[in-house]
C-alpha cells in the first residue's frame, strides 16, 4: 500500500488524460467563451485565461503550471460563476466532472509524455549526448481519477434506485420525451423498459466495483464503453460519457499501457539501463 505513494510509473496514461481533458474543456466551454459572445472585461479575461491555460495544457508546455492555471480557471467558473452568480449550466454534472478531473491533473506528472515538455527534455538530452529521460513519474494520485469514476457510478445508481426507475417508468418518460411523443407506448416498448432500467442499475453498480478487479477489468471497460456510447447516442448527456470513458485510463496498469503503446507503434523498447 505504501509503495503506491513511493513508486513511479509510466507517464503515458496521464499524458493521454491531459490531452483528452483539454479537448473536452474546449468541447464544453469554448463556444461560450469566445470574445464576441460578450464585450465585458470579465468575459474577455475569463476567456483569455481559459484558452491560454487549456492550450498550454493541451500542448503540454510548462504543464504543471498550465494544469494549475486551468484548474483555477475552471474552479472559478464552477464556483464563482456557476454557484455564486447562478450560471446554472456551469454546475451540471458533466462540467463538474471535467473540473474535478482537471484539478486532479495538478497532482500527476501529466507533462511527462506526449507533450512539448517531453520534446524539450529529449532535445536537451540529445544536445548533451545523454539518453532521453524515462517517461516516468510519481503516480500516487492516478487512482483518484478512478475513485471519482467509481463514486459517480455508485451514487448515480443510488439516485436511480427507486421503483419509478427500476419499473422502467422513468426510462419510458425519457423515450417519450425525446422520441415517441405523448401517444401511449406500445406494450412491447413498455415491457422492454423494465429490463433496460434494471440493466442500467446493474451496470452502474457493477462498474463501480468491477473496474478495480484485474480479472474483470477488460470486459468491464468493454461494457462501459458500449454503455456510454449508447447514452451519448440516445440521450442528451453532453461530454459526460466521453469524460467517463477517458478516465478509464486511470484504472489501467500504467506500465502495461506504456508497453502496449510501444507495441502498437512498433517501437522497440530501449534496453534496460545497468543498475
Amino acid at each position: 500500500m505504501i509503495s503506491l505513494f513511493a513508486r513511479e510509473g509510466s507517464t503515458r496514461g496521464v499524458g493521454l488524460l491531459r490531452i483528452g481533458l483539454a479537448l473536452l474543456c474546449w468541447t464544453r466551454w469554448s463556444s461560450e467563451l469566445l470574445p464576441f459572445r460578450d464585450t465585458g472585461a470579465e468575459h474577455w479575461l475569463l476567456g483569455a485565461s481559459f484558452f491560454l491555460s487549456t492550450s498550454l495544457l493541451l500542448a503540454g508546455l510548462w504543464t504543471r503550471a498550465a494544469a494549475a492555471w486551468a484548474a483555477a480557471t475552471l474552479l472559478y467558473m464552477f464556483v464563482g460563476m456557476g454557484i455564486l452568480q447562478g450560471r446554472e449550466a456551469w454546475t451540471h454534472h458533466h462540467t463538474t466532472l471535467i473540473t474535478i478531473a482537471v484539478c486532479l491533473l495538478v497532482l500527476v506528472p501529466c507533462g511527462g509524455s506526449f507533450s512539448a515538455d517531453r520534446w524539450l527534455a529529449v532535445r536537451r538530452a540529445r544536445r548533451l549526448g545523454a539518453p532521453p529521460p524515462d517517461e516516468r513519474g510519481p503516480l500516487w494520485a492516478v487512482p483518484l481519477f478512478a475513485v471519482q469514476v467509481s463514486a459517480i457510478y455508485f451514487w448515480g445508481a443510488f439516485d436511480k434506485t427507486s421503483w419509478a426507475f427500476a419499473s422502467g417508468t422513468r426510462m419510458t418518460h425519457h423515450f417519450m420525451s425525446l422520441y415517441l411523443g405523448s401517444d401511449p407506448v406500445s406494450p412491447w416498448v413498455a415491457a422492454a423498459m423494465m429490463p433496460v432500467a434494471l440493466s442500467v442499475l446493474a451496470i452502474e453498480y457493477g462498474l463501480a466495483v468491477s473496474l478495480w478487479i484485474p480479472l474483470l477489468r477488460a470486459p468491464s471497460i468493454a461494457v462501459g464503453i458500449v454503455f456510454h456510447f449508447l447514452l451519448y447516442y440516445l440521450l442528451p448527456v453532453g461530454p459526460f460519457s466521453l469524460t467517463m470513458v477517458l478516465l478509464y485510463l486511470a484504472y489501467l496498469d500504467q506500465d502495461r499501457l506504456h508497453a502496449w503503446i510501444d507495441d502498437l507503434m512498433g517501437w522497440t523498447p530501449a534496453p534496460p539501463r545497468p543498475g
Binding site: H93, P143, S177
Partner: protein, 138 residues
C-alpha cells in the same frame, strides 16, 4: 516513511474520502450544499411529457395524427408530438375538435411524468369539445 510520502497519503485519503463519501451528505441525508457533489443525473429530466389517449364517449380511440393529417407520425412538430401539460392537451383537443366536426364529444385520459412515476391529470370525464362550442356560442 518520508514526509513527502506521508503528505501524499494524507492528501490521497482526504480527496478519496471527499469524492467517495461526500455525496452521502447530500444524497443519503438529503442535505443541500454546493461543497460536496451529488450525482443526480436525469432524475429531473424528461418530466415535460404526458401520456394521452384521446377517445370518444363510446371508447373509440382517436388517432390524433390521422385526424390532424400528419403522416408519418414522427414528422409531426415537437409541439404537436409531445404534450407536456393539461394546457397542451386542451390546446390539441381544440385542434382535434375543429377537424372532427361539430357535435363531437372528445375525451382524454392522460397522465403526466413525475420523478416518482405518473400523475393522472385527466380521467375522460370532461367533453373537451364543449369549451370550444361555448367559445363559438354553440
Amino acid at each position: 516513511m518520508t514526509p513527502r510520502i506521508v503528505a501524499r497519503m494524507l492528501a490521497f485519503g482526504v480527496i478519496a474520502a471527499y469524492m467517495a463519501l461526500g455525496p452521502f451528505y447530500r444524497q443519503g441525508l438529503g442535505n443541500r450544499t454546493w461543497l460536496v457533489q451529488n450525482w443526480v443525473m436525469f432524475s429531473y429530466a424528461s418530466l415535460d411529457v404526458c401520456e394521452v389517449r384521446f377517445h370518444l364517449t363510446d371508447g373509440t380511440p382517436i388517432d390524433r395524427y390521422a385526424v390532424l393529417g400528419i403522416d408519418p407520425w414522427y414528422s409531426a412538430k415537437p409541439s404537436i408530438r409531445k404534450l407536456g401539460s393539461v394546457e397542451d392537451i386542451e390546446r390539441q383537443a381544440r385542434s382535434l375538435c375543429a377537424k372532427l366536426g361539430p357535435g363531437t364529444d372528445l375525451r382524454a385520459n392522460a397522465r403526466c411524468a413525475r420523478a416518482t412515476g405518473w400523475r393522472p391529470v385527466m380521467s375522460g370525464e370532461a367533453d373537451l369539445c364543449r369549451r370550444r362550442r361555448r367559445e363559438q356560442g354553440g
